[in-house]
Symmetry: C2
Subunit: 126 residues, 2 copies
DNA sequence: CAGGATCCAGGGGGATACTG
DNA sequence: CAGTATCCCCCTGGATCCTG
């Protein structure tokens, strides 16, 4: 009987809402997406940043720390000079990825209609 | 060949990112969820608010306006005294709902492990 | 009842400079 | 290179009061 568990989602402080809030963060989604589509096993900090022209290094660092904390990415430090850090998706992130993909595809399929609706409802000044 | 379209998701100002950002908003998700699980065709403003103990009326109003603007909910005003306004999910929202449901179920299935991981990585003060 | 209007604090997040 | 550390601005969103 999962239903009762799911119902808890509407309560404040609920862990489900907490998990969703951190996944649904725009930067977190984008990092997972980019890591997935890179075709590589892992990516360096600067590689990620180059794929996200509008993120600050501060936010990228914070986003990666959060993702690491929640077990979506691994952070591997190579003791070299200059330093090298590699980020890779975990199995947990990979299990989530099909869902994010369908959400992404839904957005692609519907964005034109949605943008059109927005314009219709633009506050009419007269 | 959809892939090239999807690739645009990493660009700033991309409509896909824009669509996702508004869907992934914590309040928007919760409103859609509650409307879906209510078992009713529509709900009143106060009914919604009672299901969301931690939202302010201001944020609920703003969230509903955004959802309406993007065509996820309809807003029906009954010219009565006292006024009555009913909110209902559109077909667009219903088409999105299975995806949100799988995302929610994923969160339920993984939240214990995620919460556990978070504690492990809690900064160790010594 | 369903909000609009206003005021205001807190924190998210940018810019910049510095370090191992 | 891959971050930390500061400063600081602005916008989100809460609290409160008012209205059709």
């Amino acid at each position: 009987m999962k239903r009762s568990t799911v119902q808890d989602a509407m309560f404040p402080g609920c862990p489900v809402r907490n998990v969703l809030a951190r996944i649904c963060d725009k930067w977190a989604l984008l990092v997972i997406y980019i890591l997935d589509r890179s075709g590589k096993e892992s990516m360096r900090f600067m590689e990620l940043k180059q794929q996200m022209p509008d993120i600050s290094q501060r936010m990228l660092t914070m986003t990666l720390r959060t993702l690491e904390e929640d077990g979506y990415v691994t952070r591997t430090i190579f003791s070299e000079i200059p330093p090298r850090v590699e980020y890779a998706l975990t199995e947990r992130a990979k299990s989530l990825q099909p869902i994010l993909d369908s959400l992404l595809q839904w957005s692609v399929d519907n964005m034109d209609d949605i943008m059109c609706d927005r314009k219709k409802n633009t506050p009419v000044k007269d």
